[in-house]
């Protein structure tokens, strides 16, 4: 029976009879049925529609009811001063009132209003959303960026000088992106601040050292490298020289070029916004343009336990500018069709406002229901997936679990669910969880995936 239950073409994990029976029982109870459907969708190699992902990671957990899932009918106790959502350029879709630019781009993205996992811890929920796995197991799984780095990076013929998985600008910390894949698949974190000149990209652009100074130093080094001169053809010396040349191609060439935002028109830079986030969006577009398959913008400041509305008023216009301009710019350059833009954080926030001291209008963590946004790369725009209830407290219909969202992204990238990950224990481990892993799933986002 196991033969037909798993409709995998290859790399089917061997399972024992007892395990097979256990699974049947679970499937009978309905728990695994949805997974079954999701996994079957991958039986054949998916066709790649997208080449790259830009992940806008809303670190801290953005308030879903203030941003993409407004609930003006719930009154002041729930929506505070943000009570007049904006109509967008897609009729029937309303979003938060502090997002006028995104309101004009709604035809480009779809909003998932029924994301859920029920976890309220930053680290654990972050892990859940970005790996699709339950935290706390013996194995630490890689996040989507590292999976893409494995399947689309140097092992898959990527030849770029810039590493295939870039984080703007700092890694989250407390979360090992690569998990058991190891340091080779960790992101390259740029450091620095793209809204400053120069954008001090770690290892590539050193503030205070002009490119002339870099060249002078390099010449000094070459002239003092007496051992290399004594052994010019020694294999180790040759390898060292090649690595050094590549490094300088980055420092003086390609790397310096990609991260040099002065090459962009001032008008466009202004449209993105002069903030660190806005300029990060612009850098992300430049990276994708050069073939980097995965870029994460780590955008903090959304953990608004206190003074939520002040934070929204301060930060949402900045987010609106960067995100909306990114969509527009990608669209104008014909890159949106091949670039997935994924916006979201680890959870949402308590829909009912805490007005009392010391919160003064704050919102807590809310993993029961929250929003995510997908655009481009084969995802349809102008759609709403699922919904939350009247107060934004529970999933009302069509729950979307983290693994469903990640699985849909992998599918658009042409990454097969059954691609094996190199597990250090030699266990059969795949890009997508197996039914036996008991990961909750409600199926891929077929409703917004182009046929």
């Amino acid at each position: 029976m196991s033969e037909s239950y798993f409709n995998f073409n290859h790399q089917r994990p061997r399972i024992s009879r007892r395990e097979a029976i256990r699974r049947t029982l679970l499937a009978g109870s309905g728990l695994l049925l949805a997974d079954h459907i999701a996994f079957r969708a991958f039986a054949a190699e998916p066709t790649a529609r997208a080449k790259a992902v830009i992940q806008i990671w809303m670190w801290g957990g953005p308030s879903h009811t203030d941003i993409f899932d407004p609930k003006p009918e719930t009154g002041y106790d729930y929506c505070g001063p943000l009570k007049t959502p904006l109509e967008t350029n897609v009729s029937g879709i309303r979003i938060g009132e502090l997002l006028p630019l995104l309101a004009k781009q709604a035809d480009k993205y779809s909003i998932i209003r029924s994301m859920t996992h029920g976890n309220n811890g930053h680290e654990t929920a972050s892990y859940l959303v970005q790996t699709g796995r339950q935290p706390g197991g013996r194995t630490v799984f890689p996040c989507a960026g590292s999976v893409v780095s494995l399947t689309k990076g140097y092992d898959a013929g990527y030849k770029g000088l810039i590493p295939p998985y870039v984080v703007l600008t700092e890694p989250q910390g407390r979360f090992d992106e690569a998990g058991f894949l190891g340091s080779k698949y960790r992101p390259f974190a740029t450091g620095g601040d793209p809204s400053k000149t120069p954008f001090a990209v770690e290892g590539i652009i050193a503030p205070g050292i002009s490119s002339q100074h870099q060249k002078d130093r390099r010449e000094l080094l070459q002239h003092l490298d007496t051992l290399a001169q004594a052994l010019p053809d020694h294999p180790q010396v040759v390898a060292n020289r090649q690595a050094e040349n590549l490094a300088y191609d980055m420092i003086l060439g390609e790397g310096a070029k990609v991260f040099d935002l002065s090459q962009e028109k001032q008008e466009l830079r202004d449209r993105y916004g002069k903030s660190k986030f806005g300029q990060s969006c612009l850098v992300a577009r430049r990276l994708v343009e050069r073939g980097i398959p995965y870029v994460t913008i780590n955008y903090g400041g959304w953990d608004t336990h206190k003074g939520n509305f002040q934070a929204m008023q301060r930060q949402l216009p900045e987010m609106d500018k960067g995100f909306a301009t990114l969509l527009q710019d990608l669209g104008e350059r014909g890159l949106l069709d091949s670039t997935i833009v994924w916006w979201g954080g680890e959870f949402g926030r308590t829909p009912k406002v805490m007005w009392e001291e010391p919160w003064n209008g704050g919102r807590n963590h809310w993993g029961k229901v929250f929003s995510a946004v997908l655009a481009g790369g084969g995802f349809k725009g102008g759609q709403i997936v699922g919904s939350s209830d009247a107060k934004g407290e529970e999933v009302k219909d069509r729950p979307v679990y983290p693994v469903d969202l990640l699985g849909s992204i992998y599918a658009q990238l042409g990454i097969s669910a059954t691609t094996q990950l190199p597990n250090p224990e030699g266990l059969p481990t795949f890009v997508m969880p197996q039914p036996a892993d008991n990961i909750k799933s409600a199926g891929l986002l077929h409703e917004i995936m182009s046929a």
Partner: protein, 552 residues
Amino acid sequence: MTKLVPLFLKLLHSPTRLNLCMRTRAGKWAVCQSGWLAVCWLLFLLNTSLFAASPFEGPMPSAAQSRIDELVFARLKTLNIPPARLCSDGVFVRRAYLDVTGTLPSATEAQTFILDHSPGKRAALIDRLLARDEFADYFAMKWGDALRIKAEFPINLWPNAAQAYHRWIHDAIRDNRPWDKIATDLLTASGSNFEKPPVNFYRAMQSRTPTGIAQAVALTFVGQRADHWPTNELANLAVFFANVAYKATGEWKEEIVFFNPAATNTGALNGRNQIALFPDGGTVTLSPDQDPRTVFAAWLVKNPQFARSLANRTWSWLLGRGIVQEPDDFRADNPASNPALLDFLATDFAASGFDFKHLCRTILNSQTYQLSAITPNPSSEAAANFAFYPLRRLDAEVLIDAVDQITGTNETYSSAIPEPYTFIPSDLRSIALPDGSITSGFLDQFGRPPRDTGQESERNNRITAAQKLTLLNSSVMHRKIESSRMIVFQTSPGRQPTEIVSGMYLGILSRFPTAEEQQAAQAFAQYGVGRRQAAVDLAWALMNCTEFLYRH
């Protein structure tokens, strides 16, 4: 700055200008310098004039002076491969410090050695280095890799046990305990992982089945990958470990490893006598009255392969590759490049009572070890037969320790799962880290072994462009150099340009600069952006030289 490089290139490339300048400088020095600097100057003039090829080489090796040299040179002669020259004193002092203690010599240590004219100074330095604490730190690191000393996944020793195990190995190396005793202790220990540290040998492996243990034993003490053995031979070896049992206690993460005569694993005694086969085909009757591990350990340490595998491992640590290479992959179809050499080392090691320092001393005092890395023929055959000292990138730990020593800075370490009772002093050197789970971004990037399998090949010393970016241009390296005590000292008022350049060469490359290097560095400094920036640039350049990054 812009105009300076072409200028100093001209200086370098035009013989007339160069000579003229040298005279001018020499004249200046005659006025302002005296004492040892004049001696140094003479010395490096001597260096460059006698062995004009490079500051790296000494005379040709003389006729073989030790058994090692006889065997190596005889082999090279049959192959018609000439050996390299001997290395210079400057190269030797750096090499010996790095290979014996994993630590860079200080400027003073390098200078004292180079200026010492006593004939037996290399042997004397070797003895001093073998007595240093860093010798134990460094070889405990090497054994920590081989024994997989690591708190977290996939080894899961847990922090206190990893610390206790490391401490035990460290002290055994420091006290130069005989290796037959160390191996016997590791193989026969019973008790708590906290109180009896060697029991952790049986815990530090991914698979604790009798077969898994047998594989770990074969890798560690026989130098063989037992997963390539025929199944029945692996099963025969596993019999000796089939009665190893584990149990938890009330103490958090404490575990008892013990002999359970009634264990029921495949091949276990299960209360009865049993005939077992040693890997060499000999038989023995095991009884439930005696832990089979004791029987195996007694057999192992008398078997020539035990001495051979340890001698080969040690040789590979000091000379960059094994006589059997990989050093932990003895196979019939992977023969020793010089079998007589391996036999000699193994026999001598066993005869010395498995004295590890004796083995190191014997190798280090050979001319073979002291050959230069400069060779006209870096062929793989010449390399496999030790015709020259092989260039290899410094280990991650050694490299960052060297950078920190020069700049007077520290590392920040972290562990995947921070454990409240593990205190890491801020000045702890990377070679002395007890636990493979405690790491830093630098160590990860430069290929420190994850300690998952215990194979020597886990360590990755291949250079990459990303590593180069870190070394050439990262904020971390810039900060270390900028804040370096060395820069402050070297640019303090009153220090002469020649002193500055010589001091930085001694501190970073462990030798005096040649006349040309002194000249080039000063030309750079004089037309540059001020004294301090010039010193920073010079330190940066020297720390990015092949000579700094590679053992040579």
